[in-house]
Symmetry: C2
Subunit: 216 residues, 2 copies
DNA sequence: GCCCAGAATGAATATCTATTCATTGCGAAC
DNA sequence: GTTCGCAATGAATAGATATTCATTCTGGGC
């Protein structure tokens, strides 16, 4: 009997040692994928590690517990989103507040943000947040930061256009609208495309800012 | 030793035989409660039956499987909502389309609809819907019916006010706004009250229907 | 080429939980 | 009051699945 020799073809089976950070990201991505595939309540470590092409015990090795892996997955998604958001909100290269707000809309409905697996993760955790303090605080934290920056932006737009309106309501409405559209995008992408979603948002903005005009 | 005699005080422990329908509703309510308390992914039959004050095996007796109990719970919540919704949409006692739309808003943010446990159930299943065909179809069915009726109503309002606008966008925006506000209501009721949520909706309606005026 | 720290593995374990079913006892019918 | 069908019980079972850990193997250092 010939002893099995590992070839290049078989390289997927070859054990490899990689930096902790690479492995963590690899597992987080696999977790996101599984959440999108089977739902948060059906995710098992064995399914995750299998998807990552790694062994059973590795999730506990790098994350200590399943619960922690899930928390880190949520953090990963929210952190990435917040980073992009803050980049726009604190950006200084825009010609006007209106232009900045338009960029924000483009970002919020960009392919990267509305990627199916990310939406799935987002709402999976929202669905559990009420009853899980850890998720709750991660989401709330993210939301609070976002709301603050958006309020400032809305006020800037309002002033720029010479309006005199309650931007608190406008902001609450804007945020709710985005969340609702994301949910539609997740549940029935057939019915509502990203393009259509953006049109709905601009319709909202034209409504609350009568003098709004799309900048180039 | 005196043989334990069941007293009135002890009546909670007394075995009782009740109609199937009563038991089913009792279990569904307990399930809703547990979902709100611990999240869909952490709901166990033993926690549910305990909350219902019944024995371990009763859920399987009346629902065959845990999965089925969950499905029936989702159906219960959506059916109740749809009933109220259709009652308004097909109602004929309103003075105008505007008045009907106002009634709709009142309904959608009524205490009964926005009850914490119901919102929790709603979003718990939304979070899983993507990956579970059964949930998906229940939610999609409910959504489709709602969307159709609302589109008609929006068109009626638009005509009533003599506007010439694309009511498809208005409807999509309206639905998304409601969903987003519900999510806020669930996740941070401190920040957004039901009253404030309604004000946000009316602000939206004033925006898209320039001639809108609150009736009475 | 050899060594070895520690990354990775995966079989074994412990725990948790849905489901079953033999037994109990309620309450409607007579 | 007695009987009896079947609702209800809850202990036992079976099946998952998170976690552990003894063992294997990699790749950098010498």
């Amino acid at each position: 009997m010939v002893k099995q020799r590992r070839s290049q073809i078989d390289s997927s089976k070859r054990r490899q040692i990689l930096p902790k950070e690479i492995r963590r990201k690899q597992l987080i991505r696999a977790t996101m994928g599984r959440i999108a595939e089977v739902g948060l309540s059906q995710v098992t470590l064995s399914a995750v590690t299998q998807k990552a092409g790694l062994s059973q015990g590795i999730a506990n090795l790098h994350f200590d517990s399943k619960d922690n892996l899930l928390v880190e997955t949520l953090k990963f998604v929210t952190d990435e989103y917040n980073l992009g958001l803050q980049q726009i909100l604190s950006g200084t290269g825009y010609l006007s507040a209106q232009a900045k707000l338009q960029a924000l809309v483009q970002f919020q409905f960009s392919r990267s943000v509305t990627e199916e697996t990310k939406m799935a993760v987002w709402f999976a955790f929202y669905g559990e947040a009420k009853s899980r303090p850890t998720y709750q605080s991660i989401c709330a934290d993210s939301d609070r930061r976002a709301a603050l920056g958006m309020k400032t932006l809305m006020t800037a737009v309002s002033e720029e256009l010479g309006h005199d309106i309650d931007t608190a309501f406008v902001t609450d409405g804007y945020i709710a609208l985005i969340d609702g559209l994301w949910l539609s995008l997740l549940l029935s992408p057939r019915k509502l495309s990203r393009v259509k979603a953006k049109q709905v948002v601009f319709q909202y903005l034209k409504g609350v800012f009568p003098l709004w005009s799309d900048v180039r």
